[in-house]
């Protein structure tokens, strides 16, 4: 049986619909109940919902054989998993943003507010820029408006929130989308089952394009 970790939220629901359309449906997960783990022995699958940033932890430690996770989380946490497919959904980008028209001067330490300190650190290290990371857990956009930081490093989807708050993206760090990840040992011992899932997803994607 393949254990699949799905991220709670829209991305996970969309991913489940893909699995369902490929013959890996699990009626229990669609019912309104308080169960945490959903199994369908007929299709040999077992699903569970996890906080998005925890999905790679479940997969890396073998509690799930495969999982769906955003590239942002993989980059930030550097998990030891196989990244088998780019699902091409949940597309957005990791970007540097700040107050419109106020690009910070390069002659001082840059204060960067972010939920993604590792991504921010490695991006500015590649530019040899001295920065001070201000780690926040949410509402990152407020930081430059209140003078807490010069810029933010965050996910930008449509850019509407930035625009409405008189902010603008300055640079794109990396494009982000959902990835199918697999545990390294599961991939070896359940190779046929996991490869079949990958091939079905790839076939579905190429049929759509």
């Amino acid at each position: 049986m393949i254990h699949i970790a799905l991220p709670k939220g829209r991305l996970g629901e969309k991913a489940y619909q893909i699995f369902k359309s490929l013959g890996y449906g699990c009626p229990e997960i669609e019912e309104d109940n308080r169960k945490l783990i959903f199994e369908n022995p007929e299709n040999d699958v077992c699903y569970f919902w996890a906080k998005p940033s925890d999905v790679p932890v479940y997969v890396e430690r073998g509690a799930a054989d495969i999982g769906i996770v955003g590239k942002d989380i993989l980059l930030e946490h550097g998990s030891d998993v196989y990244e088998l497919l780019d699902l091409g959904m949940g597309k957005c980008r990791m970007a540097v943003a700040g107050i419109r028209g106020h690009r910070p001067a390069a002659d001082k330490t840059l204060r960067v507010a972010t939920k993604f300190p590792n991504i921010a650190r490695s991006y500015y290290a590649s530019q040899s820029r001295e920065i001070e990371i201000i780690r926040l857990n949410g509402s990152i956009e407020i930081a430059p408006l209140l003078g807490l930081s010069d810029v933010i490093v965050d996910i930008v989807e449509t850019g509407t929130t930035l625009k409405e708050n008189d902010l603008e993206p300055f640079e794109t760090i990396v494009p982000i989308s959902a990835r199918l990840i697999a545990n390294k040992a599961s991939y070896k011992f359940q190779y046929d089952a996991i490869r079949t899932i990958c091939e079905k997803i790839e076939a579905e994607r190429s049929a759509q394009t």
Binding site: E60, R61, Y82, E83, L84, D86, A182, S186, K188
Partner: protein, 368 residues
Amino acid sequence: MDLIRTTARSEETDLLRLQRLYARYGYDKFRMSKFEDYTLYLQNKDFLKGGNIITFNGPDGRLLALKQDVTLSIVKNARDEATPCKVYYTENVYRASDDTNDIREIPQAGVEYVGQVDVYAMSEVLLLALESLSVVSERYILGVSHMGFVRGLLDAADFSMDVRRQVLACIQNKSAHELHALCRAHGVEASLEEKLCALSTVFGKPEDCFPTLEGMAVNDATEEAVRELRQIYDLLCETGHGENVRIDFSVANDMQYYNGVTFQGFVDGTPRSVLSGGRYDDLLRKFGRKSGAIGFAVYLDLLEYGRSGSDAGADALVLYDPADVKGLAGAVQALQQSGRRVRVQSERTDDRAYKTVYAFREGGLVEL
């Protein structure tokens, strides 16, 4: 002996069996100190498999580290001699986790071969790796790759050092999609791009993968690598272990140190590789040696993953009345001599499961 087998923790029995295995192949035991000069680790940081080094000051002010790796300690003392150095070790290494800073003591066993490395020497080390896996699990796989093949393909693409590292990471993560993007960003020719991407996905029995790899060869280095893999595999098949070998380039290792065959072992039920090794002649070059070297380590701590918790500490429970103990010690000894683990207490105060429970009454044991 049976009693020792049943009472020793699985990790300890594994260790005993591994030691016996390595000794059977004529490897000598190598015992070392728990401490190492910090500079050794600092100068070879990329060779170490992650984890922070735990340091402290020695009495003379030197910065020392708790041993984090065994291979480096063996290699720094190795000499270029006609007789190969064949050693095994069972040591604890100490690492601080990158995420949580927890300090951990990790039991390791391993084998190192330093000297003239030929096909038989390589096959023997891979055979020992396979036999080590068979000691700890019934279901196991040894993923095998060859750094000569990886380097050969990367040389053909003429990547910078930084991009080579990124490409290797994509191969290790089996991310063909990332590899496609990277190749396009650096203007890699289409046929070479296809080969690099294929390398990240190739996985299977060697006899099925060799023709694919031969088709992907682009220069002498890649051709020689496949030839060497074939020779090693043929020798492994002679021992009956061939069916547990898979060609898998995600087990490719650091390019600075590893130059030939590299491998990782997986056992069913354990989420990470429990064995890792390879040919590391280039590490010896850093120490000014001309010899070749190949070896591996088994991470015994990871094997606990696939095991259920131990059963009760005893097979039999003997309950007694403190006012009536005459003859109790002799009765308990007699039970122990029949090979059972016996726990003796005056009252039953827990719900542990015992195969048999006895009461000691009037000088004898009565089964309850």
